[in-house]
């Protein structure tokens, strides 16, 4: 936070242009902690400090992984789950974006939907799968609706707050030009709310896969959530941890997706880099 100082003042000497950001080194540093944790886990398991039956171990997980991949279980389940997650994400996050924009923009919209949303948001829908079955049957619909309902709220809330946080001076500028509300929405509000919306997307991405664990208990015979919950019922620790690791991988993937989106969409905001 502070520059180096000396009693006689501060001298900055620069001799060459700074090299560009060293992407690879950064990536390595980032991966450091997770990798170290994996190694520690393996060491503890190998030396019997932790009970492999309770905690599994990276090695056993790798074995299980290979096994499940060889017989196709994993591919089938992950594939179908991702499709479900994507469908729910598109529905829930898309709706969250629209409603959030509307509520941020128009007082009337905010007044009519916000309280209802705040109420529903705290209701444990994941514990009310029964209702989803009653309303949406036992096909694919209740699963996707459940995932969508998990993705809706973070998107709505972040977009709404993002729109409210857009610099009012820019809105005034836009107003003074008498552009239509669509134009203002597209060029002022949406980009202004984008950093927040991306945070919402981060959550929505995570929830779309997390919700699978619940959604895939509804008359489902495949999917990573089904795999996890049935492994749990029969205490197959290795499969449970394989699923956990798979979820971790999905976490990395969604992080990469959002980072790329940030780099592309928030290019103008180079001021956001940490020191």
């Amino acid at each position: 936070m502070s520059r180096p100082t000396s009693p006689t003042g501060t001298t900055h000497v620069s001799t060459t242009a700074e090299p560009g950001p060293m992407r690879i080194a950064t990536t390595l540093r980032r991966a450091c902690v997770p990798v170290l944790l994996l190694v520690l886990w393996q060491v503890l398991a190998s030396t019997d400090v932790i009970d492999e039956r309770l905690y599994s171990s990276p090695e056993r997980i790798a074995d299980t992984f290979v096994e499940l991949t060889r017989d196709g279980t994993l591919q089938d389940n992950v594939g179908v789950s991702l499709l479900r997650a994507l469908a729910g994400l598109a529905l829930g996050a898309g709706l969250g974006l629209l409603v959030g924009l509307a509520a941020g923009l128009w007082r009337l919209a905010e007044e009519s939907v916000d309280l209802t949303i705040q109420i529903v948001r705290t209701v444990p829908v994941f514990a009310l799968t029964g209702l989803f079955i009653v309303w949406f049957g036992i096909g694919e619909t209740p699963r996707i609706v459940l995932i969508a309902s998990a993705c809706f709220f973070p998107m709505y809330l972040n977009v709404y707050s993002g729109v409210r946080g857009v610099d009012r001076k820019l809105l005034e500028m836009s107003d003074s030009m008498e552009v239509g509300s669509l134009t203002a929405m597209r060029h002022v509000l949406l980009p202004g709310a984008l950093p927040s919306a991306l945070v919402g997307l981060r959550f929505a991405l995570a929830y779309s896969v997390l919700a699978l664990v619940i959604a895939e208990t509804i008359n489902s015979r495949n999917g990573i959530g089904y795999l996890l919950s049935s492994a749990q019922q029969y205490l197959q620790t290795d499969i449970i941890f394989t699923c956990v690791l798979l979820y971790g991988v999905l976490g990395v993937v969604s992080d990469v997706i959002v980072r790329v989106l940030e780099r592309v969409l928030l290019g103008w905001r180079s001021g956001v880099e940490a020191r």
């Binding site: 003074s176 552009v179 103008w268």
Partner: protein
């Protein structure tokens, strides 16, 4: 914000572009504009001088429809272009887009935006992000954004404050041309007395939420700096701003 057909006016031939009467605006207990009247004729260029914080920006914002008056009637044309006290560029849009923002999205708009950028000397910056502009460059982009429009009323809030002498002269010319070309009325806020005399047909001095002095400068603007009538006018205005030169 409601539209009214105000009581039939004994209409003068050319309807004035701006007509403000009995305007009052206060923030809490501070009265910023107090029973203010202003008429600007079509094609007239009015300059506002006044102490920092006397309410110039508030008046301009009210004219632009961005602030609501507490009391009073404000009558302005439809097409208004505003240059704010800060550049107010969309940080997530490149300079070129910022200039043509709000225009129909076609070739012609793009060409006009590029031409306006060239006029303010920034044709090479069309693809730059606003963040990478210097203070004066950003201000010029905001000017270019006003130039591409065809307003009936131009509202300018210290548009040349952070420009160097030469650039300022060029920009002043551009604004005057714009106003003349479209026969637009203009209200310009400035702290530079020379600028006010040069550009304005009329100069108003604001203080305590009202106009305290008004002078016709349509003649003086054409005489040059150093000439006796010019310097007299200048001293006169400065005196009303509280500055006595020795």
């Amino acid at each position: 914000m409601s539209k009214t057909t105000v009581a039939p006016t004994p209409a003068p031939a050319p309807a004035p572009a701006v007509r403000v009467s009995g305007l009052r605006r206060s923030y809490g207990s501070t009265v910023v504009l107090d029973n203010l009247d202003l008429t600007v004729a079509d094609g007239e260029f009015v300059c506002l001088l006044g102490r920092s914080g006397c309410g110039k920006t508030t008046l301009l914002r009210t004219l632009a429809g961005l602030d609501k008056a507490d009391v009073g009637v404000v009558d302005v044309p439809d097409r208004v272009a505003v240059v704010f006290q800060e550049p107010r560029l969309l940080p997530w849009k490149r300079v070129g887009f910022n200039v043509r923002y709000g225009l129909p999205n076609n070739r012609e708009s793009a060409a006009r935006a590029q031409a306006a950028l060239a006029e303010v000397g920034l044709d090479t910056h069309a693809d730059a992000w606003p963040k990478s502009l210097s203070g004066g460059q950003a201000q010029r982009v905001a000017l270019a954004r006003a130039l591409v429009r065809e307003p009936q009323l131009l509202l300018l809030d210290e548009p040349f404050a952070s420009l160097d002498a030469l650039t300022r002269i060029t920009m002043q010319g551009l604004i005057r041309d714009l106003a003349e070309r479209h026969g637009a009325a203009a209200v310009l806020v400035t702290h530079d007395v020379d600028e006010a005399i040069l550009l304005g047909h009329r100069v108003l001095v604001m203080d305590g939420g009202a106009f305290t002095y008004e002078v016709d400068t349509s003649e003086a603007g054409r005489s040059h700096r150093g000439s006796t009538p010019y310097e007299a006018l200048r001293r006169d205005l400065l005196k009303h701003l509280g500055v006595e030169e020795t």
